[in-house]
Amino acid sequence: MFVVSSISTWAENDALTPYVSALEWPADAPVMMIAFSEERQFPFRKFPKRFAGTMYRSPKGELAICYNSPRAMRILLNKDEILIERDGRLSPLPASSVDAGAMYDLLDGNLEMLRANWQPEARDDGFRLRPKADSLRDAVKWIDVSIVDNQVRSVAVHQSNQAIRRYEFADSRPADLAGWDPFSR
């Protein structure tokens, strides 16, 4: 019993281990909200595009990313699925976006899936995730995650197509929805 426990502890003792409490959501967490800003740097564009909004997480693990700048927009993120609200209708992304799963696992704090698909490397203020599978490498080179005060503060997704997405997150807090459902389909 002691041997098995030791092997298990050794196997999970990687660059993610110090940040488990920062990544995982409490089991009884209500709908939570986090204000964020985003920069998209495309390789074919000289200046980044800037966005801002609020992310919501439901107790079931659904994520709703609601942009309010430069214009209102909503994205529903589930495992293996990313839906965009367009003209009042939800549509999947036309191209396969394998890093959507990584973003979901990261924001949802699913350590098991992160460890299965990514190789974590320690950094000064957090960790870097490098894809294990070729299919992931085709889409993403690496993802840098910075954690300050036991909370994810920034995420930078370096795409294989040279695009870079940088997210900055404010403190998380219980959402005040006043009857509105950000996860509605």
Binding site: F44, M73, I84, S91, P94
Partner: protein, 758 residues
Amino acid sequence: MKNLWIALILLLGFPIGYLLTVNWPTAFNSNILELLPDANDSAAAREARQQIRAHLSNPVLVKVSGFDAPRENMVRQLRTAIDSQPEFGAPFIVGDPSEAASVFETLQSNQETILAASWIDSQFQRFEEAQPETSFPEWLARESADNLDTFLEQPMSVAYSEHIPADPLLLLPGLFAKLPQLEATQSEAIYAWIPTTHDPMSAGSKAVIEESLDLVLEALKRADEKTVLKASGVYRLAGVSAERTQQEVSQLNIAMVVGIFGLLLLLAGRPGFLLLTFIPLLVAALWSIVGGLLAFGQIHVIALAVASVVLGLAVDYGVHLSTQRGSSSLEATWPKVRLPLITSCISTCFGFFFLLLSPSAALRQVGIMAPAGLVGALLAVRWLLPHLERWAGAYRIRPFLERPAPRLPMKVRLVIPLSTGAIACIIIVGLGSFDDDVRSFQIPIQEELEGYQQLVSEISPGATTNRWLCFASSPADLIDNLKQTRDQLGIDPLLPIAAIDPQAKSWQTFIAEQETFTDAFRTELEAHGFESTAFQPFFDKLSNASRWQSPESVEKALTELASELPPPLAPVLLNKGTTWLSVYEVPDGTTLPDSLRDFTLELSERNSLNSALMTARNAIINSMLWGVIGMMACVFSLYGLSRGTQALAVPFWSVSLGLATIVITGQHIGLLAIIGVVLAFCLALDYGAFAASSREPPASIRISSITTVCTFLILSLCSIPAIAQLGKVVASSVFFAWIGAELLCMQSPIKLSKTAHE
């Protein structure tokens, strides 16, 4: 005795021996499509129709709902469960991102050929409406750079960013917005389109498919016990229709036999009489089935239902001989009935042969089965009944059947038929209208149909019911045909490649000023903050823009697209062998112009089949006129002018009244009503022939008419409206034929006696 054995072998031994060799599971056919008439289409149109019918009727449509487990888990479970069923191919899950990805890759490699020209055409129209001061290439360059800049604000731009250097015009994102089947469903339910390896129209496929669906549901329930699976498809409609038709045909046949023998027992009072009527019936049934199987290899269940009316006619033959026996023997009685029976048999066979003109394969089978049965019945009456007399024993027809009807004055006997006949003709001409709807040839399966339509509307919301099918033998011809359709009707086909004419002003302007556009677009991209050098993949392709619409590019693009489109989208561009198809929507109420008929079909077969029914009905009416002339010649040559006129008066009068009865009840006269008129005319001529050659009230006519009316009244209870109408027409006509025969027999016995011995 020798004749008896020959008759037994020929009439009973041969058909029974043959039927013992028949493979019964395949002998009967319940395919509803064979009940429908063949449309009046060309060979190419028939091929196109067959291909699209096969594609659209193949899938099993499935809705999975009620589960609490994550939707994506259930999608995975559903795919695995379906993959494990050999009857099913790979499913298309509506709104699943992986389905969109596969279409995306196919379109991406041909995007300029398929999409660019129509996009430029639409931009050119906007340019002309806006009337800016700049040239078209400069205006287009600025608009395109603006659009690209705005697009980057959309989240989907992140996933699409690697494709943007090759598609800065954003052709593909624009197309995907027009494909509802690839959008995520807003419902929690999962909708799947599952191809099946079974012919959905074949017997037994419903059971096999439903068994596989049960196993799929079982697997899903292991993931979430609450899962509910609802499925439908043409396999189910065909299966339920076939089951109900077979069930109803069996019930009608049993009811007819029980009705006939019950009445005969009631009217004759002794079972021995039944033996004399049962043998012609048995021979007729055997010969009818053998005739159908020998001529067609298979018998449709509807053919079996309609041909079963021959049972009533076969019984009549036995009745005619048996009731005329009196105190002599059947052998001695035969000469008395020979002429009217042979006349009746020939004329009735002649009437049934009209069904060979029917557009429905099932009804053409009746055109062989019924005459075969009638000839068999007549031979049985002549060669078997006299030998069975000893077993039949004594019997006596109920006295009231032989009692003369109250004699009416001559004036009354003339006035009644003449006035009622005239009124009937006025009703038919004034109120009667011809109409056929192919739906009246199908057994109602409303609940199943509504379930199927509900599922279709949930999978493809907003799909219009009015869709046309364009067909051709090559991709280039298909494009030409679609362009003609667009130019003539102003309809924008879903296939964007068809929306552009290489000679169009927009395309010519773009090609002529391509270099100007290239320079302007580079400048605008830089001005909007883009690195114009990053878009070299696009500019490389742009330098060959004149070849985007070449026949080789078009053929390559369409061939690849047709092979990759997922099943629900495949009707947009379907290629099977040398047949190329494209289905598009047209506004409700649009009628197909003659100029497009060479390469266009309405996807709904209802109109074309109704047209085929109308053509067949008109053909039968025309042929019927010649048939009546032939029958009149036959009757006059056998009966002479005076008795021939009397014999023919009965069918003309009774059929007029029978048809008027249908018109008064507010029904349109359909194809089977016309066929019923032909049958009723032959039956009525049978009565007319007997009445004209009899000097006594013909008990055989009374028995025959009672049993025949009963038989056809039972047929009129059929759920298939067209067959029910046939039953009504014949039942009412035969009833009036009986009245006509009674009126005819009220003539002076002396005069009749004279004519009978002439």
